[in-house]
Every structure is written in structure tokens, then in C-alpha cells.
């Protein structure tokens, strides 16, 4: 791994992000009565996409928005321009990551599948709500406006094809609700809310959220680790793994995700319990085993669409052995065009031979061959034996390379440490399939009890 390249500046990055920031500041005050400074921000965005296919649409949209007369189509055009800019940032960063890891990139499969555009009405309602948000601005949000997302989310959630949109809107609206009223808000997460708004708006367009599983794969799946993402009312566990195809073709990096909406009181070990029954892979990961796949559906982006019927738990497979032997030869998947955003960068890497440093309560850093790499221990899930202290005492780390707040950071998935002269591995997802660990088992019991109570209440209260 060429860690020296991680801190080298990326050409054009600052300029692209400056244009994004200029647009993002426009959304703070909203587009109802735009001020001259906002017009300048809109113009900066339009200027940046001048040489692209968006060149005719965006300047017109910027003019209309600056005049306080932006319709839905204009706001969508602005969101598209911002997405294109973030896409270019994503591409520059993934090129850099490829130089760092030295791994080959998978070829993009361009197979076309029939368009499927479910929920046109509810998506139109979502779009209308998002446009109202942009007009009000983050400083203009109140409970009444934010609550408008509720019925939209409730209508979307039962349809699994609309889960992406529903889950994003639900998390976004909850965050906005917690910050109401916007007029008294001291600190606005400007970039973050603009990110969420932009993606949510584009996902209301027909076909934008399409991730068809056009192919299938057969072979041996060697898990590397589990990454957990959650907001108050949703959770997703994503297993990163290397697939060795049985047809002898090159090994490739793939992911397998399972997600569920949840009440906000289900946390910690309760998250594993919610997801476990839907994906046998979590059990296999917990036990440190490989999985044999037979014609498992996979998307062009390397996401397995898991089906327990097509998987059989196999032999023990040490993720660190996988990382040392096969990871460097595995191909990295491509990202779907609309999903290109720096937040999506999560590339499995193995880091060894570092010295861990921590200044008092400051962030942990690894120094690898003279170069510092920040370590993000906060992303490890709550129900996990992998503590920041364990990471700080480790000698090898299997993690995800991410890009956050202007720098590359390493999210640990597992580490190797030495206990009484023996090397032991500690995994963030060790409790995914259940645990016999004393602390873990207590957490499991508490979570089981609280979900049982909730289900009982749900039975009584929802069917009255």
C-alpha cells in the first residue's frame, strides 16, 4: 500500500468543493427571497458545469432560482449539477485510492435492464416536500414543514423497491425535526444537509434508484468484515468480502447488505437480532467462516442481493489470511453513476507495520512508513468487542479506507493484537451472529427483552 499518496493534494479538488460550498450556502437562507450573495453562489455552481451536458439547463435554473422563481425542474437541475461536481470529486479520490492499493478496477457491465419506476405519485409528493424545504432554507424550517415528510415516508416504506428513498427521507426528516425551529439554530451542518437534500431529490426521479441485479455469481465468498450504518429508525449491516468465482476468473471485491426500518429504541445488540434472520451470512461472519454461493444475484456495482437459498456456510476462513493472500489481487467494483459521492468511498485495505499514537483524548492515528493516517474508531458499532483501546494496541488492521472532512481515514473492521505472546484477532462484527462473550450475551438478553415488549405493544396498540 502506497500510504505516501494519501496525503498528496488532489488536483482540482479544492476548486470543485468551493463551488459545492457556494451552492450549499444558498440553501441556508432558502430560495423564497434570494439575496445577491445567493445569486453569486448559484452562478458559481452553473459556471462549473459549463462544459458538460448540463450546460444549457443549469444556468437557466440558477437565474430562475436567483429571481426567487425556481420550479421543481429548476431545483432538480441544480441538484444534478451539484451531484455532477461531487461525482467528479469521487472519481478523483477513487483514482487516488486505486493508486494507493495498486488493485485493478472491475470492468463496468453495461447490460441494460427494463426500467422499473414504482411509486410515481409518492415520489412526486417527496419531490414537492424537498422543493418546499429548499425554498424555506435551513433557517426557515419548522415542525409543520418537516412533518410533511411523515406521510410520504409511511407510504413508501411498505414497498421494498422504495426503501432507499424512504430510509433517506426518514433519517433526514428526523435530523431536521431535532433542529427545529431553524431560526434559532446555532450550527447548521451545511454540507451534510445539502448532500442529503440533493440525493433525496434525485432519487425522486423515475429510475434513479435502480440497482438491478443483472448477473449472478457462483463461487466461494471470503468475508473481510462488517460495517454497520444506522440512524434512529433504520439500520444496515454491510459485509465486505472477496469472491473467488468458481469459473476461475479473477477474484473480486463484493458487498452484501441487509437493512431494516426499526423503532428508535432498538439499538446495540438489538440491531443484530433484527437483521440476523434475513441473512445467514451474518452468522457465518460471526463464526469466521466462508460461504459457498450458487447463482447469487449481483448488481453491476458488486452488491450481492442476498438470498439464503443460494448460500451454504463453508469452511473456516481467517479474514486476515484472506487479506494477506487474495485482497491485493481482487478487483474493486465500479460505482453507479448517480451514486458517485465521496461519502460512498469505503475500500477494504490491510494496514500493517504501523505505530499507533494517541494524544490524550485526541483521535487515534497510525504512522505507516512515516505517513500519518487518521483512524476513525467511532464508526465501530456499539455491540462489538472491538474497542478503541484494542485498536490502539494492535499490530495489524483490516479496515475501510474512507474520505471524511478533507482527508483519508481508516475505519477498523478488525485488528490483530498480541495477548500473552499469541496473536489474536478482534472483529468489529464478531457479535453479528450472536455471542458467548459475557458482556455481549448480557446485551443480547436485554435487547431480546425490549423487542419482545415492543412487539407485544405493537400487537395491542396497532390493531385496536
Amino acid at each position: 500500500m502506497r500510504t505516501d499518496l494519501l496525503t498528496d493534494p488532489v488536483d482540482g479538488l479544492d476548486e470543485a468543493l468551493a463551488a459545492v460550498d457556494a451552492f450549499d450556502r444558498v440553501l441556508v437562507a432558502g430560495l423564497l427571497r434570494p439575496q445577491p450573495a445567493q445569486a453569486a453562489g448559484l452562478a458559481a455552481l452553473a459556471h462549473f458545469v459549463a462544459g458538460t451536458p448540463l450546460a444549457s439547463l443549469v444556468p437557466e435554473a440558477a437565474d430562475k432560482a436567483a429571481a426567487g422563481a425556481a420550479g421543481e425542474d429548476h431545483l432538480v437541475a441544480l441538484a444534478a449539477a451539484r451531484t455532477a461536481l461531487m461525482g467528479s470529486v469521487h472519481d478523483a479520490l477513487t483514482d487516488r485510492v486505486a493508486d494507493v492499493t495498486g488493485r485493478p478496477r472491475a470492468e463496468r457491465s453495461t447490460r441494460d435492464t427494463p426500467a422499473d419506476a414504482p411509486g410515481a405519485n409518492v415520489l412526486a409528493a417527496a419531490r414537492a416536500w424537498l422543493c418546499d424545504l429548499a425554498r424555506a432554507g435551513w433557517q426557515g424550517i419548522d415542525h409543520e414543514l418537516v412533518a410533511g415528510a411523515g406521510p410520504v415516508v409511511s407510504a413508501m416504506l411498505p414497498d421494498p423497491r422504495l426503501r432507499r428513498q424512504a430510509t433517506l427521507l426518514d433519517g433526514f426528516a428526523a435530523e431536521l425535526a431535532a433542529s427545529c425551529p431553524g431560526a434559532t439554530l446555532e450550527h447548521v451542518p451545511v454540507r451534510r444537509w445539502a448532500d442529503l437534500w440533493t440525493r433525496a431529490l434525485l432519487l425522486t426521479l423515475p429510475g434513479a434508484a435502480r440497482t438491478p441485479a443483472a448477473d449472478t455469481v457462483t463461487g466461494r465468498l471470503l468475508p473481510l468484515g462488517v460495517d454497520v450504518q444506522e440512524h434512529a429508525t433504520a439500520v444496515q449491516a454491510q459485509v465486505h468480502a472477496v469472491l473467488e468465482p468458481s469459473d476461475g476468473s479473477a477474484p473480486r471485491l463484493v458487498r452484501a447488505a441487509v437493512s431494516a426500518p426499526k423503532p428508535d429504541t432498538v439499538v446495540g445488540a438489538g440491531l443484530w437480532q433484527l437483521l440476523r434472520p434475513r441473512m445467514s451470512l451474518l452468522g457465518a461472519v460471526g463464526e469466521g467462516r466462508a460461504v459457498e454461493l450458487d447463482a447469487m444475484p449481483v448488481t453491476a456495482e458488486g452488491d450481492l442481493v442476498w438470498d439464503d437459498e443460494r448460500a451454504r456456510t463453508g469452511e473456516f476462513a481467517d479474514p486476515f489470511a484472506t487479506a494477506r493472500v487474495i485482497l491485493s489481487t481482487a478487483t474493486d467494483p465500479e460505482t453507479a453513476p448517480l451514486d458517485r459521492h465521496p461519502v460512498g468511498i469505503a475500500v477494504p485495505v490491510l494496514v500493517e507495520g504501523y505505530t499507533a499514537e494517541r494524544e490524550d483524548d485526541g483521535p487515534l492515528t497510525f504512522t505507516v512508513a512515516g505517513h500519518r493516517l487518521a483512524v476513525d474508531t467511532a464508526r465501530v458499532p456499539a455491540a462489538s468487542p472491538l474497542s478503541p483501546e484494542t485498536v490502539a494496541a494492535s499490530g495489524a488492521c483490516l479496515g475501510l479506507l474512507r474520505w471524511d472532512a478533507g482527508e483519508f481515514v481508516l475505519q477498523p473492521l478488525a485488528v490483530e493484537t498480541t495477548v500473552r505472546k499469541k496473536t489474536v484477532a478482534v472483529h468489529a462484527g464478531a457479535w453479528a451472529g450472536g455471542t458467548t462473550d459475557k458482556v455481549g450475551a448480557r446485551a443480547e438478553k436485554a435487547a431480546t427483552d425490549s423487542v419482545a415488549v415492543l412487539r407485544e405493544r405493537a400487537g395491542k396498540l396497532l390493531r385496536k
Binding site: 430510509t167 444506522e230 433504520a234 447488505a257
Partner: protein, 141 residues
């Protein structure tokens, strides 16, 4: 349960009737409290001082958010050392707080019901790329 709108508020199960729940809240600073059932009947215990539901709410909040965060949000200073649920309740009741307004109970309860219904939705295995914006955190949010 949540720290929102200048209140600690949440839904607490009835001790006697499993079909009944209480919506309980304590306002920050004034500690004005309210407790009513899901059918909007006032709680019998919440007259003059905190009822058991409100006490249970404080206990749960301390478990989920940590005593310090709850104390900071409610602006309740406990004398000496680390605050705990018992100390918080005694500091707040010591100021003889007034009975608050229960009008916020309806939206809290309807949100609770909406999220309760989430338990009946099926997990899916199609990827949700947008969840990358919502990382897990070791410390409760």
C-alpha cells in the same frame, strides 16, 4: 423517548394494563411535567409531583443517553459528583415544579405508533447506498 423541543419526552408502558401506555414529559429548566394516557386521560399519579411513569422515563433516559447529557439538557445541576437518575429526580422535584401542558402528547404518541409499526416491516437485502451518511457510533447519539 427523546430529548427534543426543550423537553425530555417519551412513551412509558402502564404497569397494570398492557394495552395502555403513558406519554410523559419534563420541560428543561422549569421541569414542568405532564403525563397522560394514549387516550389523553391525565395520569392519576402526576398530581403535585412526578408520577412513577415520569420517574421511569428519567431512569430510561439516563440509561440511553447517560446522566450527564440528560442533566445538561434539562439544565438540572446535581450537587456534587456524578449525577444519577435518583439525584436528578430529587433535584427536579425539590424545586416544586408545576404541572405542564399535555398538548404535545398527541404528536409524540402518533410518532411512537408510527415507529412501532416499523417492527412489522420486512428487512431487505437490496443495498441502501444512502446509509453511508449515517455511520454507526459507539456512543449513543
Amino acid at each position: 423517548m427523546e430529548l427534543a423541543d426543550g423537553r425530555l419526552q417519551g412513551v412509558v408502558s402502564s404497569g397494570s394494563d398492557i394495552g395502555r401506555v403513558y406519554v410523559s414529559s419534563i420541560a428543561a429548566e422549569s421541569y414542568a411535567f405532564a403525563c397522560s394516557t394514549n387516550n389523553n386521560r391525565p395520569c392519576g399519579g402526576a398530581r403535585g409531583t412526578f408520577c412513577n411513569h415520569i420517574r421511569a422515563l428519567v431512569g430510561e433516559a439516563v440509561l440511553q443517553y447517560g446522566a450527564e447529557r440528560v442533566a445538561r439538557y434539562l439544565k438540572a445541576e446535581t450537587p456534587g459528583g456524578e449525577p444519577d437518575a435518583e439525584a436528578l429526580v430529587s433535584v427536579m422535584t425539590g424545586t416544586r415544579p408545576e404541572q405542564g401542558d399535555a398538548s404535545a402528547a398527541a404528536p409524540v404518541f402518533s410518532r411512537f405508533l408510527r415507529h412501532l409499526a416499523y417492527l412489522e416491516l420486512e428487512p431487505t437485502t437490496a443495498p441502501l447506498p444512502e446509509m453511508q451518511w449515517f455511520p454507526a457510533t459507539r456512543t449513543a447519539a
